[in-house]
Symmetry: C2
Subunit: 436 residues, 2 copies
């Protein structure tokens, strides 16, 4: 299965002209069986979340109305590795390990000496990395007797993932969808319903309000705390969510070895709450040779322009306070197409890495990210999610800089999702209707 990076595959009498497509697949039996916990590897311990009313550090009991103990334990665990339950592995193996692919056609189009590798998380049933945490979250809730989950969704990626995962464990799933998306993206709603999820527009009590992620979180949390059979599920930001995503980076490490690469020089991912970025980059934190880069939108530039302080995760101020880069919990970002990046805060783990200098951050306007996404589609063939376009923008800039310096840099990035349910965004871009 392994192919060394430049010993290109040739078969008998059928040499190909370019012979440059390289993809490293692993069988289901080779997926990681533990999650990588970055908490014990951080230089300073992560400050605890604070109770929204008392502003005192919260304990497990404060979180119990929302989350099962299995997840609460993971939220604070300092074990370096945490075992993935067999029942979770079984579902993840429907699509994992995901392929590692070298983007040789993009390299050639850019004329760069850099070698560009990507993890293709778009191959999951929901089309993104989100099911990596939706599945274990549904599992731990099911295991503790919960019958029903609530959550919020903006662009719809997370709601899709949780609906999918709930179907596999026989849980009801109620999704509060930002109203503007609910009205503009009916396909995402239908996808959730196909898996048996039920979807309502948020905010539920203000039928004329376009909604926001912070408001939808408030709706979902309210629902969960008022019903004893119900828990709440969050698709990003929290430690246990980033933990679950580390299968991405661990697989990439194994696959890069198959590709003959000792280590990447830089790891890049887009950043909204930080889960796909954490997933690919956290396993590389201990290796100081590897630069880590977060790519965020200029319209919601949390890491590059936000304040590092305690803030609420939602708009109504119902969630614990987290120490993070934030634009303020009442910040309503402009309506850019990368809905998954429209969040006022960032994961505390990501924020701490940026604060300490271990991780860099860059911000790009959405037109620049769609230029990159269309260049990708016309060279590599697939249509990326608008969120993923931010990573691709940063990758292209990095590869062009490598050309300037004539340096054989190894770039790894996370292809976090496909854009097949975001094509109206491409329509706007291709017909010059993008506003920023």
């Amino acid at each position: 299965m392994a192919q060394p990076p430049r010993a290109r595959a040739r078969r008998g009498t059928h040499p190909t002209i370019e012979d440059d497509t390289m993809r490293w697949s692993l069988p289901p039996s080779e997926m990681p069986t533990t999650w990588f916990n970055v908490l014990p590897r951080l230089k300073e311990p992560l400050p605890p979340p604070l109770h929204p009313a008392t502003r005192e550090p919260i304990g497990p009991d404060d979180l119990a109305p929302l989350f099962p103990m299995g997840l609460i334990a993971q939220e604070v665990s300092t074990d370096p590795e945490i075992e993935i339950p067999g029942e979770v592995l079984d579902v993840l193996r429907l699509w994992r390990p995901t392929p590692l692919v070298r983007a040789t056609r993009l390299e050639r189009a850019l004329g760069t000496p850099a070698r560009i590798y990507f993890k293709d998380e778009s191959v999951s049933p929901a089309g993104s990395h989100k099911p990596n945490t939706a599945v274990p979250q549904a599992f731990y809730n099911k295991q503790e007797g919960v019958r029903r989950l609530t959550t919020e969704t903006g662009a719809g990626q997370w709601g899709s993932a949780l609906s999918f995962a709930s179907a596999f464990y026989g849980l009801e799933c109620k999704v509060y969808m930002v109203r503007a998306s609910y009205l503009q993206k009916p396909y995402r709603r239908v996808l959730m319903e196909t898996w048996g999820g039920s979807v309502v527009p948020s905010p539920v009590d203000q039928p004329d309000h376009p909604g926001s992620l912070g408001l939808a979180i408030s709706d979902a949390v309210k629902d969960a705390v008022t019903r004893s059979d119900t828990h709440y599920s969050l698709g990003s930001v929290l430690n246990h969510v980033l933990l679950h995503q580390t299968v991405i980076g661990q697989e990439a490490q194994a696959q890069l070895r198959l590709a003959g690469e000792d280590h990447p020089d830089v790891v890049i991912a887009c950043c909204g709450g930080g889960s796909n970025l954490g997933g690919i980059s956290l396993p590389f934190v201990p290796d100081e040779r590897v630069r880590l880069v977060a790519a965020e939108p200029s319209a919601c530039a949390t890491l590059t322009t936000g304040r590092y302080e305690y803030d609420f995760g939602d708009t109504a101020g119902m969630t614990p306070l987290l120490l993070m880069y934030t634009l303020g919990h009442d910040f309503i970002p402009p309506s850019i197409h990368a809905g998954g990046l429209r969040y006022h805060g960032d994961a505390p783990i990501i924020s701490a890495l940026v604060r300490s200098g271990r991780m860099e951050a860059v911000a790009h306007p959405q037109t620049a990210t769609f230029q990159a996404a269309v260049q990708w589609a016309r060279t590599q063939g697939t249509v990326p999610a608008p969120e993923t376009g931010h990573a691709i923008r940063a990758v292209i800039d990095e590869a062009l800089a490598a050309r300037e310096r004539n340096r054989e840099e190894v770039i790894l990035f996370n292809y976090s999702g496909h854009g097949l349910l975001d094509l109206s965004a491409y329509d706007d871009f291709l017909h010059d209707r993008l506003t920023s």
Copy 2:
């Protein structure tokens, strides 16, 4: 990479509970380097196409205004294998070989002793099997100096595939899209435009007409014959198209051996023009132990209710006459959601196999196929194209019959495409708005 079918993968101290996800991936270097030509294996030679005006057998020169000589030669070749050019392999390897997957969760839900395997053609950039022929068609045209391709598209799968392939060989691509689809499926249009294709609604000269595949073929052929730099490209029906699709069945044969299966008992695919069905089934034609089954819609039941006779491929009667099962070239099928199956005829190769009894055909109403598709989504996770739902319906019926007979049948089917751009169809099904 290989895992024997019931020696389930276990790793060290992490046994899984169900441990049942099995997927056989092959590296890009293992994809077939020849196409499988069924023509010399047919019991009787295929009768030739007839000229639309003279009704005499046509020769290569008659086809030259539409197709490059490379494809015309393949259309009539009796070589048992035909080499795939390296430049074609290079592009196909962006996603090929596609995985062979065992649908263990569906098996369990059905309580069947049958083992169900599927080839996942939905992983291509365009989301279906169609690029398998779009890529070589674009290549041979480019090689012979053509600058521009025209084609028709109904649901949009074929137009997407040809736009994608054209981008990789620097060809212009003009797609005549059935007007009803053009208006109802803007995402498909945007996908084609993202790859650089240009899309217009058809029929071009009747702006109030909803259109049909036969009319769109006429538009695309007219365009091609009136411009010297332009050729026409067809996504199904013709011999060379089915030839290009045989990479599917050849890969499946290699992967079934890895899975420890000597041969499938039955091979199933949906059938519109016949290209995905031909792709997976033709390499099995010589093995008489293997049953071959075509699954078609009741609303356009060509193989099960059509006449076996010479008919035009298009509505206007501009194309050569082909000997095939047909509902008449003026037949306008009801507007079912499986747009790719709404064609009045069938591939001559498929028609001959059914006529001779080598292949069976079944027809199902669309509600039954969506029931099957939703059961698939809730057990196997992915959302199939409405066309693929027809194959899944036939697979489930076969697996239930195996349960009745308590027989360990091996079923192979083609998961021809995903349904992410057809979610409005699921919306109609889930909310009881399907008409048939």
